[in-house]
Subunit: 506 residues, 2 copies
C-alpha cells in the first residue's frame, strides 16, 4: 500500500516496503523537483521526520537524499539541512521519465587498435566474448522483419526514429536524462559525436574548449583538428576543479573566454571518481550564467556496483549540457553506435553538420538496437555485465590486498577500469615489469593532458573489461607479479626501485 506525503503540497507516493523503496523515493523526489512541485531552495524535512511520515527506515531516506545531492538535485549544508538545489529548472521537454531508474547506456573513451598481448588490461574495451550474439540476432530478425522499406533508404540525419525513441525512454529511466526523440542524434560512436560537436562549436566561433586534466588524447587531438585548443582544468582530491571555469570567465588567462567544457562527470576517465556535488553545481551554474556548454561524456554510466549510478548532469540542465552516450562499453565498439542528446538550441547545427541525410550510420544496427532496448534484452545484458565486472573488480581488489598491500585501488566501484596508485617514481618501472610478464596495461601518465598543472602521481590504469572470463585469473596473477610490494619488489624510497626480478631495459 502506498503512503502519501503531502508536506509542502507534494504528493509523494512511495511503497513503504520491498527492495525498490529507496529507488522509488529517489525517483519520486527527483520527479517532484523536475516538475517544479518542489521549488529551488525549498528545505526538505529531516530524514528522521520524513522516514516517520512514510513509515520507512531512516537510512533509506538518508541514502535517497545522498543520491540526489550527488546528482545535484539537492544540496546539503552542515547545520542547515537538505534543500532543493538552486536553479534546478522544471523540464521543458515531454515526460519521458519512468518511476524506476535502472542501469544506463552510455558513451566511452576509445583507444587505438593494437595487437593483443598475453593479457590485456588496457582500458576501453568490454568483454567481447560476452557479446550477446544470440539475443542480438533475434532482435535483428524482429527489427528487419517489421521495418518499412523506406527505413533502408537514405534517412533522417538524426538517425532512425525507432532508436531515438527507445533511447529517450531508456536514458530517462536509467540516467535521468531529459529529452525527446527529436533532440537525439545517432552517431558512429563517441568519436563521431565529438567530431560533429567540434565542428559546430568551431562554426560558432569558439577557438578553445576546457577539458579535464586527465582524459584521452585521441579526444584532445580531434578537438584540436577541428580548430579548438584544449585547455585543461585543475584536478584535486574532489575531482576536476570546475570552479576554474567561472574564475576564467572573470579573470581571463587560458580559460578566459572558454565557453565549452568536455567532462566525464559520472565516472572521471581515467581517475575513477564521480564529480563532487559542489563541482557539479558549479559547472552547471557557470554554463547557465555565461551560456556555456557542457559536453558530458557518459561512457560507462550503467556500470556502478555499490549504489545507483549518479544521474546524468544533463538532467540538471538540458539547455546547457550535451549528453553523449555509446554502445561501445555496454555492447561492443564494433557496433559504432553512439548518441548525442542535444539542447534544442544546438540540435539544428549538429544535424546540419551531419549532413542533409544520414551519410554515416547504418540503419540495420540502429533498428536492431532499438528492438534490443525495447524488448528488455539490453537491460538484461547490462545487468549480467554489471555482475561480471563487479566480480572482477572485487577479485582484483581482494588479490591486491593479499599480494600487493602497498598498492591501492582508487575511484568509485564502477566502470570497467580502476586506477592503482603506485609509490612515487615507480610507474615506468612497473610498466616495464608488466611488459615482461606479458601484460598490456597503461600508466596514468599517458592520460595526463600535456598542459595540465595537476600534481603528478604514479599509477596504473587497469581495464578489467577486456579479458574473457577464463583469462581473468591469469591476468590478475600477471598484474600482481608486476606490481611493487608484491613480495619480490621493494621500494627503497625517493623514486628508487630495486626489482626482485631482472627487467628488460628499454
Amino acid at each position: 500500500m502506498a503512503k502519501s506525503w503531502a508536506t509542502f503540497g507534494v504528493d509523494l507516493h512511495v511503497e513503504p516496503t520491498g527492495p525498490g523503496v529507496r529507488r522509488g523515493l529517489t525517483e519520486a523526489l527527483r520527479e517532484a523537483v523536475r516538475s517544479g512541485r518542489l521549488a529551488s531552495g525549498t528545505r526538505l524535512p529531516s530524514s528522521r521526520s520524513l522516514a516517520a511520515d512514510l513509515g520507512i527506515a531512516r537510512n533509506t531516506v538518508a541514502e535517497a537524499y545522498a543520491d540526489l545531492v550527488a546528482e545535484g538535485w539537492l544540496t546539503a549544508r552542515q547545520g542547515s539541512g537538505t534543500s532543493v538545489a538552486p536553479g534546478v529548472p522544471p523540464t521543458p521537454f515531454g515526460q519521458w521519465g519512468s518511476p524506476v531508474p535502472a542501469p544506463a547506456a552510455t558513451s566511452a573513451p576509445g583507444r587505438p587498435a593494437r595487437a593483443r598481448p598475453a593479457y590485456d588490461l588496457v582500458p576501453g574495451t568490454p568483454d567481447l566474448s560476452s557479446f550477446p550474439r544470440a539475443a542480438w540476432l533475434k532482435a535483428s530478425r524482429r527489427a528487419l522483419t517489421v521495418a518499412p522499406s523506406e527505413a533502408l533508404d537514405y534517412g533522417d540525419p538524426r538517425g532512425r526514429v525507432e532508436l531515438r525513441t527507445a533511447l529517450a525512454g531508456y536514458l530517462a529511466r536509467a540516467r535521468g536524462v531529459r529529452t525527446d526523440p527529436e533532440h537525439i542524434v545517432i552517431c558512429s560512436g563517441f568519436v563521431h559525436g565529438l567530431m560533429l560537436l567540434g565542428q559546430v562549436l568551431r562554426g560558432r566561433g569558439l577557438t578553445s574548449l576546457a577539458v579535464e586534466s586527465y582524459g584521452l588524447d585521441v579526444h584532445w587531438r580531434l578537438l584540436e583538428a577541428a580548430g579548438l585548443r584544449t585547455v585543461p582544468l585543475g584536478f584535486d582530491e574532489l575531482g576536476t576543479r570546475t570552479e576554474e571555469l567561472a574564475a576564467g570567465a572573470q579573470g581571463g588567462g587560458a580559460l578566459g573566454g572558454v565557453r565549452a567544457v568536455l567532462m566525464t562527470p559520472a565516472h572521471q576517465f581515467p581517475m575513477g571518481a564521480s564529480l563532487h556535488p559542489d563541482r557539479r553545481a558549479q559547472v552547471v551554474d557557470w554554463a547557465r550564467r555565461g551560456d556555456g556548454l557542457i559536453l558530458e561524456d557518459d561512457y560507462d554510466g550503467e556500470f556502478r556496483y555499490d549504489r545507483q549510478p549518479v544521474g546524468a548532469l544533463q538532467g540538471l540542465d538540458p539547455e546547457h549540457v550535451v549528453h553523449v552516450g555509446t554502445a561501445s562499453k555496454s555492447l561492443a565498439p564494433g557496433l559504432r553506435l553512439g548518441w548525442l542528446v542535444l539542447p534544442p538550441s544546438l540540435a539544428p547545427e549538429v544535424v546540419a553538420a551531419k549532413g542533409g541525410v544520414d551519410w554515416a550510420c547504418g540503419v540495420l544496427d540502429q533498428l536492431t538496437l532499438a528492438e534490443f532496448i525495447t524488448s528488455g534484452a539490453y537491460d538484461r545484458h547490462v545487468r549480467a555485465s554489471r555482475l561480471r565486472y563487479r566480480r572482477r573488480r572485487d577479485a582484483l581488489v581482494a588479490r591486491l590486498t593479499e599480494r600487493a598491500p602497498g598498492v591501492s585501488a582508487t575511484g568509485i566501484a564502477a566502470g570497467l577500469h580502476v586506477v592503482l596508485r603506485l609509490p612515487p617514481g615507480t610507474e615506468q618501472a612497473t610498466l616495464r615489469a608488466a611488459a615482461w610478464h606479458g601484460l598490456a596495461v597503461h600508466g596514468l601518465d599517458r592520460y595526463r593532458h600535456p598542459e595540465s598543472t595537476a600534481e603528478r602521481s604514479d599509477a596504473l590504469v587497469v581495464g578489467y573489461g577486456t579479458p574473457p572470463d577464463h583469462g581473468w585469473s591469469g591476468a590478475l596473477d600477471a598484474l600482481c607479479a608486476a606490481l611493487p610490494f608484491n613480495g619480490t619488489f621493494h621500494n627503497e624510497g625517493g623514486g628508487g626501485l630495486s626489482h626482485g626480478i631482472e627487467l628488460p631495459h628499454e
Copy 2:
C-alpha cells in the same frame, strides 16, 4: 575441348562452344594484355582469322574485341585493325582475376532525403521493397556465428578483412578491378569515401579538382567544403571531354594545375553514356604523364542490360585510379557501406584520414556483406535486380514510343535511371506538369555544374529503381501524362509550350 591459339606466343584457351565463349575470350584476351603476354601496340589478328583459328563464330570475336576497345584494353582504328592499347601496364598486384567476368558491386550518387510523393522517379535509390531481407538475415546469422570476438572491438581503419577480401575477389571478376585486400578501405558509402579523398587531396596541396559537367551537387559541395574548387570539364556527344585535362596541363586556365578528376566512366551520371574509349585512354594517359589521379565513381556498374558492363577504368591503371564502389544501389543506401580501391601510394594517407582505428563503419554489416558476397547471395540478388530493372526500362521505352513519340530515351541500357530528351524550352513546364500528376522527378538542369560551358539541353532524369513493382505501371502513366507530345501537349516551337491541361503556377 579447349583450343589453343598460339599466335604471337600467346596461349589463349577458349572453350569453342557454349554460352560463355564470348566471356571466356574477352577475359582471356584481357588477361593476356594484363599479364604483358600481349604487349602494348601489338596488332591482333582480324576477327575473321582468329575466329577461324579458334573454331568459333566471327561475330563472337568481333564482340569480344568491341568490349575490350570499350574498356580501353584495345584500340581499333579504321584501316589499321585492332591493337593492344598503348601504355596498358602489366599488373603490379597479386592475381585476383577469375576467368569469368560477372555483374559488379559499385558506388553511386546519393540524394537528399525527402517526403515521398505518389510516384517517385527521382534517381538515386533502388527498389527497397526488393531488399533481400531473408537472405541478408541468413548471412548475418552465419557471419556473427563464426566471427571471432576481436571482430567486435575497435578495428582496422581499412575495415574488416573478411569484407575487403570478398570485395577484392568480386570486383576483379565483376568489374576487372585489380587490387588486393590491403588496398581496399571500407567507408560509410560513397559520400564518406569522397570526404576522405577530399581531405587527402587537400592535404597533398591540391586546391582544385576537375569534375564532369553533369553530376551531383552534393559531391561538388563536399569537395568544396574540403577546400577543393571543382572545375567542370566540357561535355559533348562522346561524353566528358577528358582531352581538356591534358590541354589544361599545358595551357593553364581553370584546368591548369588540376591533378585530379572525379568521373563516372562506366555510366555517366546522369547523362547515361559510358565514356568513349578514346576518352578513357586520354584520361588514363593524362593521369600517367602528370601523376594525376582519377576518382572513378562506379555507382551502378553491375546494372547493364544489353551486354557485359564496361570494365572499370581502375583495371587500366591501378596506380592512378581510385575505384569507388557502394552497396547503396545494389542493396540499399541504409547499409551505409562503400569501398575505396586505392593506389598503393595513396592508401596510407586515406587510412590516416580515416583514423587510427575504424571510427566509422559498424562491423556487423561488414561481416554480413562479406558472407553475402562469398556465399553467392550477392550475385543472385544482382541478377534478380538486373532482370527487374531491365523490364522496367523496357516498359518505359515501349510506353514512351507509344505515348510520347517526341521524347527520346538516351544513354546506354544500364543503371537505374534514364535521361528523356525534351523539346527545347520545355523542361520547367514538364516538371510542373509532373508535380501536378503527383510525380517526383528531376530535370537535367539541377545536375549541371554551375560553371559548365556545355550546351544546355532540356531533359528529365527519370529514376526507375525506386517504385516498388506494383507501383511501376502507375508511375509510367503519370510520367507519360506529364510529357510533351503525349497527345495533350503540343510544342509550338521556339520554347513556347501550350498545355492541354491546366498547370499550377509556381
